[in-house]
């Protein structure tokens, strides 16, 4: 039962990912991507990593992807954008990326082929994750926080001038 759930979720994840990356409409692609992420969250949960599963939903699906939707809504390219995307997705353009990705997949399959181990079947509870995170990994946490701070400042700086504030006090100037 659980095994079949696992393989089902894997199939959903794969199919949704493929679908996500071949859509012309960004919103549709995002919905597929979210489905894929939820499927991966199920995989995490089944492998005994409930904390990672929850975070995958809360942070990945619930926050990061919302940002994507937000930007798509802000840009709101509409049908024109979709048709152009469709044009860019012509079968001819698939050849090189397809071949390269195929070779990579082949190589990866060759590389992981000899892993005879099973997953342990032990659930790693959030408390243990937390203790390890703030124990041996505390320096990495600091670095990650620094990275996030950098991301924050960078995003603020880069995104700041997207909305040009009109100066309403000077009616003649509409630049």
């Amino acid at each position: 039962m659980m095994e079949s759930l696992f393989y089902g979720a894997s199939a959903v994840a794969l199919l949704a990912t493929v679908a996500a990356l071949t859509r012309a409409n960004a919103a549709h692609a995002l919905i597929y991507l979210i489905v894929s992420l939820l499927a991966v969250a199920v995989l995490f949960f089944l492998m005994g990593a409930p904390f990672a599963a929850a975070l995958e939903i809360v942070v990945y699906a619930g926050a990061i992807m919302v940002l994507f939707v937000f930007v798509i809504m802000m840009l709101n390219l509409g049908e024109a954008g979709n048709s152009r995307e469709r044009e860019w997705l012509a079968p001819r353009k698939w050849i090189v990326p397809g071949i390269l990705a195929g070779i990579l997949l082949l190589e990866l399959v060759l590389a992981v082929r000899h892993a005879p181990d099973n997953t342990s079947g032990v659930e790693v509870p959030p408390k243990m994750v937390g203790l390890t995170l703030f124990g041996p990994y505390v320096l990495a946490v600091e670095i990650a926080s620094l990275l996030l701070l950098t991301g924050l400042v960078g995003a603020y700086h880069i995104g700041r001038r997207f909305i040009v504030r009109r100066d309403f006090s000077r009616p003649g100037d509409n630049s």
């Binding site: 696992f6 990912t17 991966v40 492998m47 990945y60 860019w88 990866l108 997953t119 991301g151 001038r161």
Partner: protein, 104 residues
Amino acid sequence: MGGLQIPLEHVLLIASCLFSCGLAGLMLRRNLIFMLMSLEVMLNSAALAFVAAGARWGQPDGQIIFLFILSIAAAEVAVGLGLVLQIQRRFKTLDMDQANRLRG
């Protein structure tokens, strides 16, 4: 509820497939938003591999690396989407083949 015992190979295989898909998407798509999405897929597949490895040993380290990947993804998306907005404003397109000059 305990975890599931499945061959590690299978999980890694799924992660490889996801990674290849993401990579193909990255090479295929010209729209910056889709490229960012492909990057997310790749990061996510790497996270899957890490969590699988953590599950193999029953240790929290895999999940911790997942957390770091999560923070990297968050930072990357924040900056990346900021760039999307800027590029759209300056070039009036998200086609990365056209936005190829250093100075906008």
